[in-house]
Symmetry: C2
Subunit: 449 residues, 2 copies
């Protein structure tokens, strides 16, 4: 790996030197909406993840408003501190976008018109059957001393100032435009300037049906396996994903460390692991059902269509998703799924026998290979004697019969209870279809074998 380049000689370095072997970077996002509570800044996390890929360690991220002085101060401070600075935002054509003028002021240079950017702006509007207005054409104005890159998705160009090995990139704030310029223009420069000789390999592992801390007890943090490894735990309502990174300068050593770590994770996560790769459980199931030429029907009460919506969000779902019922009333459960009214009267709509009958009825009526049914009390009200909020029955019917599992989620938050019901239902389906023990998973405490 190259040593980090020296700071810009135009600025006296007053901040700390970057520590460690990796070059340090700052991310600066610009926009009033980012500091007045109107918008959450999602660009920073995306940019940081991409920079990590090239061995750049982000040591500070900051947001400032659409204000020339604030932008200039932030950029000057960053250039005095780190070898790589990425600015995003404030490049639009309207009067409230101030980034270019702030940079021109900071460096004491004029804005100059770039013919290649102007041509691209004219072409951008021409393909949309419109003429570029003077304000649009002014997108071709770039501070002197900056290289400009044409924006494939919009009109604001990317800009780069190089000085003594230090790089200052400026990108639009619109996420699609920012990402296109980052991938197509910034990243090749980073690969050449920062990551030459550095090997970074990453892998995702997706688990479900096990809590983050139980998973950690099994998998550990891997630092003891090799110092070049790191493992991030990313919990979500659908399960915990693991993000493994191996880095070093010797390709064979990095690959060997990665392979050893992957084998350890695969063994330790066991049947809670559903994918080596970054895919959702719905995507995994869609692939499984398509590959095995299986079909599915769903019958939902408390989840109200969330399971069907999640599964049909995957393109091509019509090949295997047959139909879904949202049976919110007792009559719907009887009419549409054939659940006997007496069964509901005797056990209540939230009960083991009703969940079983819903799954059986859905599978039979849809003539599908598999079916999944959920009935529960999502809250915040609706509890009855012996039926607390959070009580949920999930049933899965297949060629070999029906399995019903009972869950009692803590807490009365409706949104959370519905998400949990969806998660345990999808996990039960996965276990049944792939022949795993259906009584495990579902965020029970794992049994030690």
């Amino acid at each position: 790996m190259k040593p980090p380049p020296a700071a810009d000689p135009d600025f006296s370095p007053s901040g700390p030197s970057p520590a460690g072997p990796e070059p340090a970077g700052w991310i600066i996002t610009v926009g009033d909406e980012l500091i007045n509570g109107v918008r959450v800044d999602t660009n920073t996390a995306w940019l940081a993840e991409r920079l990590e890929e090239y061995g750049v360690r982000v040591t500070r991220a900051l947001s400032v408003g659409d204000d020339e002085a604030a932008i200039g101060e932030a950029v000057a401070e960053a250039l005095a501190t780190v070898p790589l600075v990425i600015v995003s935002g404030g490049l639009g054509p309207t009067a409230d976008d101030r980034t270019k003028q702030a940079l021109a002021d900071l460096f004491g240079v004029p804005l100059t018109r770039r013919p290649e950017v102007e041509e691209a702006v004219v072409a951008f509007f021409a393909t949309r059957g419109r003429a570029a207005s003077p304000v649009n054409l002014d997108q071709a104005l770039v501070p002197e001393g900056f290289e400009a890159a044409v924006n494939p998705r919009g009109t604001a160009p990317g800009m780069l100032r190089r000085s003594g090995g230090q790089l200052l990139f400026v990108l639009p704030g619109v996420p699609g435009e920012m990402k296109a310029l980052m991938r197509g223009w910034v990243e090749p420069v980073l690969a050449a300037e920062f990551a030459a000789g550095l090997i970074v390999r990453r892998r995702w592992f997706c688990t479900t049906g096990i809590g983050e801390s139980d998973l950690y007890d099994s998998v550990g943090d891997l630092a003891e396996m090799a110092p070049a490894l790191s493992l991030a735990y990313l919990p979500s309502p659908q399960g915990t994903a693991l993000y493994l990174t191996a880095r070093g300068e010797d390709e064979a050593a990095v690959e060997a460390a990665l392979a050893a770590a992957a084998e350890h994770i695969t063994r330790a996560a066991g049947e809670y692991l559903y994918a080596c790769g970054n895919i959702s459980l719905a995507e995994y199931l869609a692939d499984l059902f398509t590959r095995e030429e299986l079909t599915l029907a769903t019958a939902e009460s408390c989840t109200g269509g969330m399971i069907a919506a999640e599964l049909t969000a995957v393109a091509g779902a019509s090949a295997w998703f047959r139909r879904g019922w949202v049976t919110y009333s007792d009559e719907a459960k009887s009419d549409d799924l054939g659940v006997p009214a007496e069964l509901i009267a005797e056990h209540g709509a939230v009960s083991e026998p009703v969940a079983r009958a819903m799954a059986t009825g859905a599978r039979q009526r849809a003539q599908s290979d598999w079916s999944l049914a959920v009935t529960g009390i999502a809250g915040p009200t609706g509890e009855r004697p012996g039926k607390p909020i959070g009580l949920t029955f999930v049933a899965c019917a297949g060629p070999d019969g029906v399995v019903v599992r009972r869950y009692l989620f803590g807490g009365s938050e409706r949104r959370l209870n519905r998400s949990r019901a969806r998660a345990v239902a999808l996990d039960l389906l996965r276990r049944m279809v792939t022949g795993l023990d259906p009584e495990r998973g579902g965020w029970e405490t794992p049994r030690k074998s």
Copy 2:
């Protein structure tokens, strides 16, 4: 309003003075996950919105990792610049949480044990049937010179250092704990110290079925009505919300400006406005159906259950939501909704007659007052001659008949097309039930009346 307090005399003010009449603040969020791309920082936007409420203008937001030097530098810089600093994160009990030690180092003070915090930690674990470990008890260690506030949701205390009128608040990073301490402890202090004499009034207005720029053409930016007014446009796939703020030192004048602006917005937004308040369209419909004692059924093809899921997410939906069908196959449309197979064969599943028959069948089978049906081609594949991706038919059936509308969404992004279909369907239902013209809305270009 009070003048902004002077900067902390412990630091030589090197940054810019806060400009304008409002005191300026910085938000500092702490955590490796915020600068390595693992997590999007949502605390900053929430905190900024709350600070605005007390007349504090956030001029910079920044994130640093779990590193004592980085935290100390950021806090020192903030204290040298602005009268209010809020730090969030790095207060957990484990070794990677460094904020308290960073503050102790910065101010050259020891950590001292606070009996009231220790008692609260012991009680926190006692109510959960557990004993606090030594590591948990160390949550009671707070840098000397800081006031400590008990955390009602966790074990990390809030901390406040006052110096020469300058305030430095330190809060946990867990959103629920941060918000509880902000609301219950920080905000009363801000009200007394910063907002005394300042009157701030806000109102939400929610619109649907009209694009942001068309809405802007009607409503404008209100700055010409009164300088004390501001209006933020917040577009989402379901519609554009307007967030109106009036501020000043004279209560009657603020209220008068607010009322005049509210009247203007209500008139200008017209029938695209569905709520004066911040509620979703599903919440509006839930309230309407409950109030009017109406019932609903849904029949979904391309949206795959999203409409039912959105509507049943509102608590109490079982009072008015009868049932939903996800009819992904042709057989499902015929079996469950009684759509004649010949109709599908003649016109295709994505057609005006099939949408109409789906809505009619759903209403009849559910014996509901209203029904809503959607059939479309969500993409990214599946187009046929005369049936491009994005083509969507939405039908709404009620006591006076059925209305079907045809939409052609641009773009082949499945997720987006499904969201758009849900949005126009809910808007059509709103218009039908409330007696508005069903041929308007749905993001058509508004007709000038």
